[in-house]
């Protein structure tokens, strides 16, 4: 069984934010919520790198582990989804998520949180596939149509990949072999330079 994963190749990402726009447009994401964001490291400096971040559909998802009402479920191929009818908007998942993926609409005064919203890997939610109700609540269900997330499908530089983790890893491995190394923007050597550890 495949395990669906996102991978953003920082060497290829040009910070065009096309993935963010595609996601918002495809899923009619409300104003103030970004299911996907592009993060730039060392912005404006030589060697700056950008990565596109959304829900990474963790195998052992911390959001699901802390949810007090267990509104999360995982599909057979590893897509982490949630039921907005169960969500109480407590925000625990936001604090647990290392990627800041869970988002909350703030339509009321005093910072009252609405139901959590996050990337669904374009797989909708627990409502009839491609129904109006599903689209309104969770966005598009491209997986049910045999398509993959639009953010990755429209990425012009093929920096963002989304699909079976094994196939994605093979592509990335070939790229690394061709380049002769991995980027040094982050990792152990960057965090602990020699002589400072």
């Amino acid at each position: 069984m495949a395990r669906m994963k996102f991978l953003c190749d920082a060497e290829r990402c040009i910070e065009c934010n096309g993935c963010v726009v595609a996601c918002k447009n495809e899923n009619e994401v409300p104003w103030g919520i970004n299911r996907r964001r592009v993060i730039t490291l060392e912005d404006g400096l030589p060697g700056e790198k950008s990565i596109s971040v959304a829900c990474m559909h963790c195998t052992d998802a911390p959001c699901a582990a802390v949810c007090p009402v267990d509104c999360f479920y995982t599909t057979a191929d590893g897509i982490v989804l949630h039921d907005k009818d169960l969500c109480i908007g407590c925000g625990y998942c936001f604090y647990a998520c290392p990627f800041g993926a869970p988002q909350y609409p703030q339509r009321e005064a005093f910072g009252v949180r609405g139901k959590m919203d996050k990337c669904t890997f374009c797989a909708g939610g627990p409502l009839p596939d491609n129904s109006d109700a599903e689209y309104e609540k969770y966005g598009a269900n491209r997986i049910a149509q045999g398509k993959l997330p639009l953010c990755a499908e429209m990425c012009s530089t093929k920096a963002l990949l989304a699909g079976d983790g094994d196939v994605v890893a093979d592509i990335y491995r070939q790229r690394i072999l061709k380049r002769g190394g991995r980027p040094k923007t982050w990792g152990w050597e960057t965090a602990y330079p020699e002589g400072e550890a």
Partner: protein
């Protein structure tokens, strides 16, 4: 006569108010790690090998390096 009609109106209003306070008695008892929401029809579709091969074909068509 007026007293009767007032009593009738009061009774109807009381019944309406009490009816508005009704809550369904079904309560969801949460258990750690058990999802008790609506079943996603997509789950069944994704178990089939046909959908998997369709998604793989899509990936090869759209996302592989050129």
């Amino acid at each position: 006569m007026i007293g009767h009609s007032r009593r009738f109106v009061f009774t109807v209003a009381l019944l309406a108010a009490l009816g508005g306070c009704y809550e369904p008695p079904e309560v969801t008892l949460y258990e750690p790690g058990v999802y008790k929401g609506t079943t996603d029809p997509l789950l069944e579709k994704l178990r089939s090998g046909e959908r998997q091969s369709q998604l793989l074909e899509r990936f090869k068509t759209v996302q592989t390096d050129r």
